[in-house]
Amino acid sequence: MTSGMGGMRTSGDLVARMQMTKGMKIKAAKKFVADKLGVAVNELTDAAVMGEVREDLKIGGVYSSMGSPKGIEAKHHIADLLGIEINSLKRFRHNTR
């Protein structure tokens, strides 16, 4: 569920999360995510730009590289970046207390 836009190759998962958690329509969700990432809205679908942004912000990418956050680790950074609550993260924190 990535709302298209190239999914995790670009920013589809982030835009999807804003629709899911805050009920944002796509235009507002894309603007919100672009502002949080510090990119222009039309750069959200640019795989080259987003690849670098995702690596810098440690929010996961299509290709996992050594030492880069994966899975739940990346979701931790996504939750902080977007200011949202992620259900699995909440449970992870509860179970690791």
Partner: protein
């Protein structure tokens, strides 16, 4: 789900389809409306549907709660209304129950068709009769029940051309998007959303239909 959530970055939903028929005889406890209706036993058939709804809601909430506890990012009730208005009613009740206990979980409802069949005929939700609703009215009932993302489904008419079907799907979806306050993710697949009824739809029809629906309806996802 627990394992998937540890590994995945993209949101992972648990998806399932309401199945009212499972609760009717011989599979389930309530009398079978499909047998009662041809006998002219309308009242008994309606009572059977109402009984099946209770069982369905209980099971849908039970399963969805387990997935929420396992860490699911959301619950997707798909092909809602496949058995008509009782199916739609059961899902709306399940969504309300789920949102009471898990207000932050995302609930997506994807419909089965553009028109809710009146298998019961007089089933209402918040005073609105469910039978006969089209997507622009379906979305309003759904968002009032607490649905976070709505997926209209427009069935392909196999005796018509792809352009005809795409135009029809877009007409319904555009009205739905204009009426919705929540994100709209239209269903598009085999026999739905203007696409042909093939197991492997021709790529040109998929490209044409998805491009057209995105640009004309300005929906929030597919």
């Amino acid at each position: 789900m627990e394992q998937a959530q540890l590994l995945m970055v993209a949101p992972v939903f648990y998806g399932a389809m309401p199945n009212i028929g499972l609760y009717t005889q011989p599979d389930g406890p309530v009398p079978n409306p499909a047998e009662l209706l041809p006998q002219g036993k309308i009242k008994e058939a309606r009572e059977a549907y109402e009984g099946a709804i209770e069982h369905a809601v209980r099971d849908m909430v039970y399963v969805a709660k387990s997935q929420c506890e396992a860490g699911a990012d959301g619950i997707n009730f798909d092909t809602v209304g496949a058995s008509g208005d009782p199916d739609f009613k059961a899902t709306l009740l399940a969504v309300e129950a789920l949102k009471k206990q898990y207000p932050d979980i995302c609930v997506e409802v994807g419909m089965a068709g553009e028109f809710v069949l009146g298998m019961h005929g007089e089933m209402r939700h918040n005073g609105v009769r469910l039978a006969g609703l089209y997507p622009h009215k379906q979305v309003k009932i759904a968002q009032d029940a607490g649905v976070d993302i709505f997926g209209p489904a427009i069935n392909t008419v196999s005796s018509r051309s792809i352009p005809w079907n795409v135009a029809r799907a877009i007409t319904f979806t555009k009205a739905c998007v204009e009426a919705a306050e929540i994100p709209v993710h239209a269903n598009m697949g085999m026999g739905v959303g203007g696409l042909p009824l093939c197991t492997t739809p021709p790529i040109d029809t998929v490209s044409l239909a998805s491009k057209a629906i995105v640009e004309i309806t300005r929906l929030d996802g597919l």
